[in-house]
Every structure is written in structure tokens, then in C-alpha cells.
């Protein structure tokens, strides 16, 4: 090929590698510590896990409140059924495992034992979307698609440690069942730089902008903010609407943001099928709003194993990929009037981001 030395390939990250950027400010185990603080005030809070306490930050609660933690072993159906039983007698359980197991493996138990009776059970799923390089067995790329159809269930996809710390008490306060897409370990701390408070069921405009609105959820809000700052340097004015609650969706805020001639882009750490992009698109269509939506999401395929930075680049979730995608959408004669651009997306620069 070329005479230059081959670039050293990154190796597969540890299963639970942090997705924080090098040097980024982080907070350790925000979920576990938030649960501890809540448990000090509310004796009915209990925790349980399916042999993954250590990997879902539940160990922080387990160590502080051993009498209120129940180890269920590697048995996710039993985990969620037991959580339902605990709630039936008046306790408020937080049950943690990996998202893939809570959703794919134990869905019948989440649906019928927890959601149908509308119990206050809080299911905490780690490794949502593409937050592990371990491959399809652990990448919960379709957890939102599975769960959005479940009646009664509140679904939260937090951006960072600030979101998680504020979401935990709100989830316990919500009378019905919830699902939290957990970010664990060294979790980036981002939103404290903004005038922001997590409010269940509400989207939050983190920055305003005239040219583009990025409607984002989960860790992709962090990327959206980074992309917006980079695009600002190119004199592209980018708004960011953070949507931490996927269900019930803040449709009013989404309609307000999308009734516009700005370029509307959704960003999510989830397959393009059945997540934020389709939630936003259906919200607009049902309201008779014809705005085009550009989805930045994972492709509808089983993803590769590898290092997270490599994978986020490959599948279009990295900040570079987001910036490139937005530039491509704005490029050409369409300029800053994206409505005028053809419905087929302009060829993105590099590397091919995931689309439907």
C-alpha cells in the first residue's frame, strides 16, 4: 500500500471501559452514590442485582446498606420478578444488570410483573447502546426500541453524572416503573456548566442556535454540545435540545424546536430503529409538521467488537462524525435553508455515519 508504517490498531476496550474523552472531568459511580444518598432519606429503598453489582455501581449501595441489598445471582428473570415482589409489599427497588439482559432476556418479567401492575420498580440497565466494545452480546443497541412499546414504563437516557444524580430521586418518586440507561464507572460531568436541572418528562434547551437544532438524548447530548461548539467556530449557530426522558416524550418541546427552518438532527446512542429519531419523526408527523429529520444513530445491524473510540467513529457517534454529518447536511447550495435540500442526504464526508 504505502511506505508509511501501519497505524497501530487499538485493541478492544475492556467490557466496561469509560467513554469519557481523555482528560474529561468525570464523577465516579454517580448512580451508586446517588442511590446511597436517597436511601439515607427513604428506608423503603432497596437494591438488587444479578451478579453484576460491581459492574453497575450497585456495589456502592451494597457496601453501605448490606441489609437492603439482595443478590439474585445470574438470573435476570428472577431478578425482575423478585423486584416486582419487593414492590408489591411496599418497598422501592432498584434492580441493576446490563441493559441487554434486562430487556432481551427478561422482558416478559419487566412487562407483566412490573409494568402491567404499574409498580414502582426501577430497572437500571448498564452498557446501553454502544458503550462497550464487547460485541452484540453486550451492546444494547435496541433497548429503547424494545421498551418504548411497554405501557406505563418511564424511560430515561441520561447524558452524564449530573443527569444520573438528579434522575435517581426523581425515578424513585415516580409512582410507576422506570428504566434507566445507566452510565457507570468514571462518568463524564458536563451539564453542571449549563443552567440545567433534570426534570422527569421534560426536555431542556441547553443552547440556542439559528441554523441547526440538535435534538439529543443520553451521552449523545455530550457529543452534541461538543459538535455545537466546533460548528460555532465555523459560524454555524447550533441549538441543542437535550431529551433525557424518552418516554413519556416531551412532545411540546420537540414540536417547538422542530417548527422551524433550521436543520433538525436527532442524536442517540441507539439503533436508528425505534429510538429517539423515530420518536421525534412520529411526533412531527402526527402533528402534521413536515420537517425533515436527520437521524444520527447506530445502524440497523449487529455491531463490531473493538475499541470504543474506533466504533464510535465507525458508526457515526463520535464528535468528529457528528460535525461531519451536520456540515454535509448544510453543505452545497442548500446553505442554511435545509428545507430546500433534497430528501436524500448529501454524501457524508467521513466515515459513513449510520442512517436508516
Amino acid at each position: 500500500m504505502t511506505s508509511t508504517a501501519p497505524k497501530k490498531r487499538l485493541t478492544t476496550s475492556a467490557m466496561i471501559a469509560s467513554f469519557a474523552d481523555p482528560g474529561q472531568r468525570t464523577t465516579s459511580a454517580p448512580f451508586g452514590h446517588a442511590l446511597n444518598r436517597l436511601a439515607e432519606q427513604r428506608p423503603e429503598i432497596v437494591g438488587l442485582s444479578a451478579d453484576l453489582a460491581k459492574y453497575t455501581d450497585m456495589h456502592v449501595f451494597r457496601d453501605a446498606h448490606p441489609d437492603r441489598f439482595f443478590q439474585m445471582g445470574m438470573a435476570e428473570q428472577s431478578l425482575l420478578g423478585t423486584a416486582a415482589g419487593l414492590a408489591e409489599v411496599g418497598l422501592v427497588p432498584f434492580a441493576s444488570t446490563y441493559s441487554v439482559f434486562a430487556t432481551r432476556r427478561a422482558y416478559d418479567f419487566l412487562c407483566l410483573d412490573i409494568a402491567e401492575p404499574n409498580l414502582n420498580v426501577n430497572v437500571v440497565g448498564a452498557l446501553p447502546g454502544l458503550t462497550t466494545g464487547y460485541g452484540p452480546s453486550h451492546q444494547a443497541t435496541e433497548d429503547l426500541a424494545i421498551l418504548r412499546g411497554c405501557p406505563n414504563l418511564t424511560i430515561v437516557d441520561p447524558c452524564d453524572s449530573v443527569d444520573i444524580e438528579q434522575a435517581v430521586p426523581a425515578l424513585a418518586d415516580a409512582p410507576g416503573p422506570t428504566y434507566l440507561r445507566l452510565l457507570r464507572g468514571a462518568v463524564p460531568t458536563v451539564l453542571d456548566e449549563y443552567d440545567y436541572r433534570f426534570e422527569l418528562g421534560k426536555a431542556a434547551e441547553l443552547r440556542t442556535g439559528r441554523d441547526v437544532v440538535l435534538i439529543s438524548t443520553g451521552l449523545m447530548t455530550m457529543r452534541a454540545l461538543q459538535a455545537a461548539a466546533r460548528l460555532e467556530a465555523d459560524s454555524v449557530d447550533v441549538a441543542v435540545l437535550h431529551v433525557p426522558t424518552i418516554k413519556p416524550l416531551d412532545t411540546e418541546a420537540i414540536l417547538r424546536a422542530a417548527r422551524t427552518d433550521r436543520l433538525v438532527v436527532t442524536l442517540e446512542n441507539h439503533t436508528v430503529v425505534g429510538g429517539l429519531a423515530e420518536s421525534v419523526a412520529s411526533t412531527l408527523a402526527f402533528a402534521g409538521v413536515g420537517t425533515r429529520v436527520v437521524p444520527i444513530a447506530l445502524p440497523d445491524e449487529f455491531l463490531a467488537a473493538g475499541a470504543l473510540p474506533t466504533l464510535h467513529d465507525r458508526y457515526g457517534l463520535s464528535t468528529d462524525a457528528v460535525v461531519a454529518r451536520v456540515r454535509a447536511e448544510l453543505g452545497g447550495d442548500a446553505g442554511r435553508r435545509p428545507q430546500a435540500s433534497p430528501h436524500v442526504a448529501a454524501a457524508p464526508a467521513d466515515p459513513a455515519p449510520a442512517t436508516a
Partner: protein, 291 residues
């Protein structure tokens, strides 16, 4: 029912022979109620209901602590029916217990009834969990038992499951958990009628030796003739007193028990009964009690 509805009343009460007679009479009424409900539908899980009537009569008349007028009393013993399609039998038992008005039974399986074919905890009085999907009862029972013990509540948790539900992995996940956590406030009751949707259990998926399996999982296990009221009473008394591990009572029951014309019919998960046969069945049931 009144003696059992007193708070903290410690069942069982009364002389053994009296208890057995009281249970037999309740079992008759449960079967009779189930036949009436089956007639409304024209078909259904009548075979299972007749088979399990003695177990339900023993549990509701003699073992459970509850208040029929207050189904949500926090100190009640929980009875979880994980076999949703046995609801016809449970409704008959709940009517016998006074939790459901007897006159409501005729709405069974009808539009807008509180008594659907598979019981719903959200709107059927006295029903602790929604049924329909199998293998859910024991996991939920595990959580209730853990929670009650955590709260210092002495209430017990019963779970009636079928031998078919032993096919479900979740049953065994929960069996491990109950034993691991030493939940001696759990009593599982396995109705072994040896019949599943696709045919005899032995041919669908072999589960025997059932008692050995539970023992291997760390449970205190007894096996009785589930249509022998005296044996049921003695066994449940023993299990109630057992400490240190969860208990299971394996009950061999006969599909259609108490009604010879249905007992001898070809075994079917969903039994067809002709219109003219319902009265015949009631007559046979009545004859059986007077013999």
C-alpha cells in the same frame, strides 16, 4: 371464613376431623362453582379446576390468614396463582372465601367482567398477581417473601404452580433464590396433574423425579395425593412449622376429580363439555358427596 379473618388468628383452628369436614364441604362448593362458570363458557379449564379444588379448599379454608373484606390487608398471607388459566378454580375459591361475591361468578370470562379467563391483579379482588404467562409466580413470591421478612412481617407467601411450569427456567431461578436466601416463609404448591397443553407431561418434557429436584435445590419437599384432604392438611401443617428453608408440597391431582364423566374423559388441557353434560356433571358431583 370468619375465624380466619381475625387479625393474627393462627390457622389452623379446630379439631382435625372438623377441619377436614369443613374443607371437604368447601371443596364441593368450589367444584360446584367451577362447573357453573364452565357452563357459562361452554368449555375451558374445568378439568384442572376440579383437580385442584381440594388444594384450594385446604389453603383458603384452613391455612391462609386473610380478611375477605380487606384484600389489601398488609399482614395477609399472600397466595399467588402463577397458573393463570386456573383462574376459574381460584374465583370459585375466592367466592367461597368471601372475597368475591358468589353472584359475580356468572360473569366469568364475559366482556367487562372482573373475572377474566386469566386473573388480573389490577382489577380482580383477592388476586395477588396477574396470570397468563407461566413461570412468573415463584420469582414474584421470592420478592414478596424477601420484602416481608425485611419488614419484619410474619405473613407467609404461597405459590400454586403446575408441573408444566417446571419447564420454565424462571421457576428454577427462583427456586435457587428462595433456598439461597433461606426463605422459610415461602410455600410452593406444585399441582402435578401430569398434563400439559401438548399432552401428558411425561411426553412433553419429563420433569420427574419432581420431589428429588426440589430437594436438590435446597427445599423441604413433601409429596401427597392432592385430592386427599386429610393428607393435604397434615402436610401443610408440617410445612408451616418448618424453619430454615423454603417448603414445597407436591400434589398429585386427578383432572376432573369429583365428576366421573370428566375424570374418565380423554385428558385434554382445554376440555370440551357438551351443553347437556353440565347438569349431569353437577349431579355426579353431588352424588359423590352423599356416597
Amino acid at each position: 371464613m370468619t375465624s380466619l379473618s381475625t387479625p393474627q388468628a393462627a390457622p389452623p383452628t379446630g379439631d382435625r376431623a372438623e377441619r377436614i369436614e369443613r374443607i371437604r364441604q368447601a371443596a364441593y362448593r368450589i367444584r360446584r362453582n367451577a362447573l357453573d362458570m364452565g357452563e357459562v363458557q361452554g368449555q375451558g379449564y374445568i378439568g384442572q379446576a376440579l383437580g385442584v379444588a381440594d388444594v384450594l379448599a385446604t389453603v383458603y379454608t384452613d391455612q391462609l390468614r386473610y380478611r375477605p373484606e380487606d384484600p389489601h390487608w398488609p399482614d395477609r398471607d399472600r397466595f399467588l396463582l402463577s397458573i393463570g388459566h386456573y383462574a376459574i378454580a381460584l374465583y370459585a375459591a375466592l367466592a367461597e372465601a368471601g372475597t368475591i361475591p358468589a353472584e359475580e361468578l356468572e360473569t366469568y370470562g364475559s366482556d367487562d367482567s372482573r373475572l377474566p379467563m386469566s386473573a388480573m391483579a389490577s382489577y380482580t379482588p383477592g388476586v395477588e398477581i396477574s396470570g397468563g404467562s407461566l413461570g412468573h409466580g415463584l420469582p414474584v413470591a421470592t420478592g414478596m417473601a424477601l420484602g416481608l421478612r425485611h419488614q419484619g412481617n410474619g405473613a407467609r407467601v404461597y405459590n400454586l404452580l403446575s408441573d408444566g411450569e417446571l419447564d420454565e427456567g424462571s421457576t428454577w431461578e427462583a427456586a435457587l433464590a428462595c433456598a439461597h436466601h433461606g426463605l422459610d416463609n415461602v410455600t410452593a404448591i406444585v399441582d402435578v396433574n401430569a398434563l400439559q397443553a401438548d399432552g401428558p407431561t411425561a411426553g412433553v418434557l419429563r420433569t420427574e423425579p419432581v420431589t428429588d429436584k426440589w430437594r436438590a435445590f435446597g427445599w423441604h419437599a413433601l409429596r401427597v395425593d392432592g385430592n386427599d384432604v386429610a393428607a393435604l392438611v397434615d402436610a401443610l401443617d408440617e410445612l408451616r412449622a418448618h424453619r430454615g428453608s423454603p417448603s414445597v408440597l407436591i400434589c398429585d391431582t386427578r383432572i376432573g376429580c369429583g365428576v366421573p364423566l370428566l375424570e374418565s374423559r380423554e385428558k385434554a388441557h382445554f376440555m370440551r363439555v357438551e351443553e347437556h353434560e353440565w347438569q349431569l356433571a353437577r349431579d355426579q358431583l353431588h352424588e359423590g358427596t352423599t356416597r
